[in-house]
């Protein structure tokens, strides 16, 4: 193969100059996306994440769970097989009596096992890191539910009525937390984050993990946080403090 013509190289160089600060030829400082323009696709430059601060999460408070159910039109779970996008987990060290509580939902892994096992490609990760189910392609096989280490997914067993416009959902599909993707695309934050703040706890922080100036990036830089089952190396977008 012949070397690229000087013209092409010149063009690429000029393009690089426009695109961002080049540290070395072909190496760029990462660019950080601002709010998504209407009609623009989800950007690879963004990695949406969530920080759950268990030191601020109040035991017995389920504002986040309620807000999620209201936002997505989910029924109050009554049986173990009912749909659940987010749940409160209460932990207690029996030796010391130290207790903590924190919500657990889809961890929006960078390497999601649910996506690996899906036979139809319905389980997928968006460019901005949100892991979702495309119900148009989901056949309800539930492999993803078995693959998920966080028990984050639910199967809809019964016909659904009264859906919300932004959360289409129906019988025979698997579903899970989608980080309120309709709100995020409109420049908002997930319903759980909003409800936690209005309940006065501020235990949930949502933002762009790729942007060093975002609140979430500053917080995870300042305090020690961890990913659930970090040993699995799924590189979760949801991080926990104080667990």
């Amino acid at each position: 193969m012949s070397a690229p013509s000087p013209g092409r190289r010149g063009f690429l160089g000029a393009a690089a100059g426009l695109a961002g600060a080049a540290i070395a030829p072909g190496v760029f400082l990462t660019e950080y996306a601002v709010a998504k323009a209407p009609g623009a696709p989800a950007s690879k430059a963004v990695r949406w994440g969530l920080l759950v601060d268990a030191t601020r999460c109040a035991s017995g408070c389920d504002a986040c769970v309620k807000a999620c159910n209201t936002e997505h039109g989910l029924p109050e779970p009554k049986r173990p097989t009912d749909v659940q996008w987010i749940r409160k987990v209460e932990l207690k060290d029996l030796r010391t009596g130290a207790a903590l509580s924190a919500p657990v939902m889809c961890q929006h892994c960078a390497e999601p096992p649910c996506v690996d096992v899906c036979p139809t490609g319905a389980s997928f990760k968006r460019a901005d890191g949100i892991v979702m189910v495309d119900r148009h392609t989901c056949i309800g096989c539930r492999y993803c539910m078995m693959a998920c280490p966080y028990k984050a997914r639910s199967f809809v067993h019964e016909p659904v009525t009264g859906q919300k416009t932004d959360t289409p959902r129906g019988k025979g599909c698997v579903e899970s937390c989608n980080l309120c993707v309709h709100r995020v695309d409109a420049g908002g934050t997930p319903a759980c984050v909003e409800s936690c703040a209005s309940a006065g706890h501020h235990a949930l922080v949502f933002g762009d993990l790729n942007d060093p100036d975002s609140e979430i990036s500053k917080r995870i830089r300042a305090v020690a946080t961890t990913q659930l089952r970090a040993d699995l190396r799924t590189d979760n977008g949801v991080r926990y403090r104080g667990i």
């Binding site: 998504k36 209407p38 009609g39 623009a40 696709p41 989800a42 209201t70 039109g73 997928f124 968006r126 460019a127 901005d128 979702m132 495309d134 119900r135 148009h136 016909p159 659904v160 009525t161 009264g162 859906q163 919300k164 416009t165 289409p168 959902r169 129906g170 019988k171 599909c173 993707v181 309709h182 695309d185 409109a186």
Partner: protein
């Protein structure tokens, strides 16, 4: 063979009449609340499913929002003025026509069939 040709011709005429909206016995449907559809009505009658399918993949997979062929947009404009729904009777927009052409309507097994205002009014009840 001749009969088949005659049948096909009749079918063609019938479809043409349906597209023109002039055939006797065609369904009477709720009037839309907006002034103009996103495409001309003849195109919508022939291809709305293609538009919706194309855009749904871009929206779900790539997160492209606000394009014009939106199912939610259809509902906001075509819903019945009283109950805010496109389903419910032979005069409701989606159900009426799908019943007439005998095509199964799957969208609303998952998607909301009511306007946002009607959903808020119902307070989460079906």
């Amino acid at each position: 063979m001749r009969r088949a040709v005659a049948f096909l011709a009749a079918l063609g005429l019938g479809l043409a009449a349906l597209v023109a909206g002039a055939a006797p016995g065609t369904p009477t449907l709720d009037r839309p609340s907006g002034e103009r559809c996103v495409e001309d009505p003849a195109t919508m009658r022939r291809a709305h499913w293609d538009f919706l399918k194309h855009q749904r993949d871009e929206t779900v997979r790539s997160g492209i929002r606000g394009a014009k062929h939106s199912l939610a947009g259809c509902i906001e404009c075509h819903a019945n003025a009283k109950d805010g729904s496109v389903l419910g009777s032979r005069t409701h927009f989606c159900e009426g026509c799908h019943a007439y052409v005998a095509v199964k309507l799957d969208c609303f097994e998952c998607h909301a069939s009511r306007t946002r205002a009607a959903q808020a009014k119902a307070g989460g009840r079906p």
